[in-house]
């Protein structure tokens, strides 16, 4: 398990970076989504993968009576998933709107904010 996870994570990272290098926004967005999942899996691995019981304390005890799984990475991942999901939803809408308005999802042709071939300011007066 400990070796399988890093291998999966690195495949995810490779795929994400490949997709993000594309010039089509929809592919970049898929890359960003996979990037987020790769990071979540690496947080999970960083928290040490153990095949132990969940961190539940019996009623009569004050501390757990067995070694327990680490709950913190799961809390962190849950936070990160919520955030990256909302960002992904926003980005999808943004990409769709800009495709509607600008008629393209090719980043090379999206030059509205930085137009090419602008006139120079006056050189003297």
């Amino acid at each position: 398990m400990e070796t399988a996870l890093p291998v999966t994570v690195s495949i995810f990272f490779a795929v994400a970076i490949y997709l993000m290098l594309s010039k089509h926004i929809i592919r970049i967005l898929l890359g960003v989504a996979i990037f987020g999942n790769a990071v979540n899996l690496s947080i999970f691995t960083a928290g040490r993968v153990t095949r132990e019981v969940p961190p539940i304390i019996p009623v009569e005890l004050m501390t757990p009576d067995l070694p327990t799984a680490n709950p913190l990475p799961q809390a962190l991942i849950l936070t990160a998933i919520v955030i990256s999901f909302s960002f992904f939803a926003f980005l999808l809408v943004l990409a769709f709107r800009s495709y509607q308005e600008l008629g393209s999802d090719d980043t090379d042709s999206m030059r509205v904010a930085e137009p090419e071939g602008e006139d120079l300011p006056p050189l003297g007066y």
Binding site: M20, I25, I28, L29, V32, F35, G36, A38, V39, S42, I43, T45, A46, G47, E60, L61, M62, T63, P64, D65, L66, P67, L72, P73, L76, T79, A80, I83, S84, S86, F87, F90, L91, L94, A95, R97, S98, E101, L102, T107, M110, R111, V112, A113, E114, E118, D119, L120, P121, P122, Y125
Partner: protein
């Protein structure tokens, strides 16, 4: 480990037992006040007349809380509040030291002035679409990022202000806004995800995300853990946030597209949060790694300032030129980070105060110029001096400040940084800072000559807007600028205190871990 069921646990060692003193709530006030009022304005979304005044009142209250917080921190050292009663490292702590509190104070001041200017800039539609809630939630995120004591929470606060800034950026959904927002959103999201990756490794190595706890444990792990990798990842992630040279291209693509108030907020505040995060992670957590990286950071700093300002020289549009000036300012701040000495860092922190105020003021100045001249382009703006001499005076003062000439605020931090670079044996970095000052004078002087001195070329078609509110706002921002230039002592003292707190983290750790609790 099996535990004897009959064994009692000393809760006093694991939990915060005494109630929080009333004055300690100051630590969370800069986050809670904008958050609450942002929600209130959302509920009042049909009452657009109330929005601006509610936001101004909320930001004024936040500013008061920030002043109180900074006064307490300067007097008594770092102030800490731990959430959920568990002592650190299990409970999440909010920790205000001089660095976080002073930057939060300046950021709130800038936001307050921008909120006042927005009365004229944001119309009923912008209010209806939620300009003010976005602005307050962004300030909550910025305040949280400056004051949190936990790396994962730093990530969360980054995301909070990032998503609000997306909202502000697309408000109006013009074509160039959609284009700019797409680039801004994707590249910033990649940067924060990179930050999260680094945080995953940080957690894997230290088993904790509390900054004080990491600073305490880092020396014991130096021989075995890949700390250099972590340092480089944080440098890349936060460098991208701060728009440092090789990863700065998202900033000029997007900062000129939104309403001018939004651009002023972004240009003033957001890049400095990246610089703050760099200072916090590299200087406080990984100082030996920073020393090894200092050559690289010095190159990044030098190239950022020189290439940034050369970009400004090439622009025709006022706002786009200002975007490049923001980048060059980030380079100056990174110079102090590269030196890593007390004087260099206090120069960086002082420059951050100055840059927040001056960049916001320059964007607002561009807004006023557009109001009276009907354009942001240097081709059509002209002859402002004869019609609006006050505007010319403000422009001159702000340009002197940005270029680092007396009597305005840019002089002293640049003097500190130049002296620190010479002391630390980086004469070329000192030269780069001075050359950047010259190039800034050229770039801004060119704007000044074309828009203000040049005789009026043609009558503008747009009906001019009265600049009275703009003058009030620029006057309010000029006050601290001139004060920093003529009477820099208190600012330098705070900056030195903040730099000292970064270099010697013992008081910070001591505040988070009172009397060895939670060991």
């Amino acid at each position: 480990m099996a535990v004897d069921p009959g064994k009692t646990v000393d809760m006093a060692r694991a939990m915060v037992m005494e109630p929080v003193a009333a004055a300690d709530w100051l630590v969370v006030a800069p986050v809670v006040i904008p958050l609450v009022f942002g929600a209130v304005i959302l509920m009042l979304r049909h009452e657009t007349k109330l929005h601006a005044w509610t936001a101004i009142a909320a930001l004024a209250a936040t500013l008061a809380a920030n002043i109180g917080l900074l006064a307490r921190v300067v007097e008594n050292g770092p102030l800490v509040m731990t959430m959920g009663r568990w002592l650190p490292p299990f409970g999440i702590s909010f920790a205000a030291d001089a660095l976080g509190a002073s930057l939060a104070l300046v950021a709130t001041l800038v936001a307050l002035v921008c909120a006042v200017y927005s009365i004229s800039d944001i119309g009923a539609i912008g209010r209806r679409y939620g300009f003010y809630p976005f602005m307050l939630l962004m300030m909550a995120g910025v305040g949280g990022a400056f004051l949190t004591g936990d790396v994962f929470n730093l990530y969360v606060w980054f995301e909070v202000f990032l998503i609000s800034s997306f909202g502000l950026l697309v408000l109006g959904s013009e074509h160039r806004q959609l284009d700019g927002a797409t680039k801004y959103a994707i590249l910033n999201l990649v940067a924060t995800t990179l930050f999260l990756t680094a945080t995953a490794f940080l957690y894997g190595i230290f088993g904790t995300l509390n900054m004080a706890d990491i600073a305490r444990k880092v020396d014991g792990l130096r021989d075995t853990a890949p700390l250099m990798t972590l340092g480089v990842m944080y440098l890349l992630a936060f460098g991208m946030k701060a728009a440092a040279f090789p990863v700065n291209f998202w900033l000029p693509a997007s900062y000129h597209t939104p309403r001018i108030v939004t651009a002023a907020l972004f240009g003033g505040i957001l890049t400095k949060v990246g610089v703050y995060a760099l200072l916090r992670t590299l200087v406080m957590l990984f100082p030996p790694e920073l020393e090894l990286l200092s050559g690289l950071i010095a190159w990044v700093a030098g190239l950022t300032m020189v290439i940034g300002i050369m970009g400004a020289l090439a622009q025709t549009d006022l706002r786009r030129a200002l975007g490049f000036v923001v980048i060059s300012g980030v380079g100056v701040m990174m110079a102090g980070l590269a030196l890593g000495t007390g004087e260099g860092l206090s120069g960086t922190i002082f420059y951050a105060f100055h840059s927040m105020i001056v960049m916001a003021a320059l964007y607002l100045l561009a807004g006023v110029m557009n109001g009276v001249g009907g354009s942001y382009s240097m081709r059509t703006l002209s002859g402002l001096y004869s019609a609006h001499p006050m505007l010319a005076a403000f422009a001159l003062l702000l340009m002197l400040a940005a270029a680092g000439l007396p009597p305005a605020s840019g002089l002293w931090p640049k003097v500190m940084l130049v002296r620190a670079s010479l002391d630390a044996g980086y004469p070329w970095l000192a030269f780069a800072i001075l050359a950047t000052g010259l190039l800034t004078t050229l770039a801004l002087g060119r704007i000044f000559i074309l828009t203000i001195w040049r005789p009026r070329a043609q009558e503008s078609l747009a009906a001019p807007v009265s600049p009275r509110l703009g003058y009030a706002v620029l006057g309010a921002l000029s006050l601290p600028i001139v004060l920093m230039g003529l009477y820099p002592d208190p600012f330098i003292r705070v900056a030195q205190l903040a730099a000292g707190g970064l270099l010697d983290a013992a008081p910070y750790i001591g505040a988070v871990y009172p009397e060895g609790a939670g060991q």
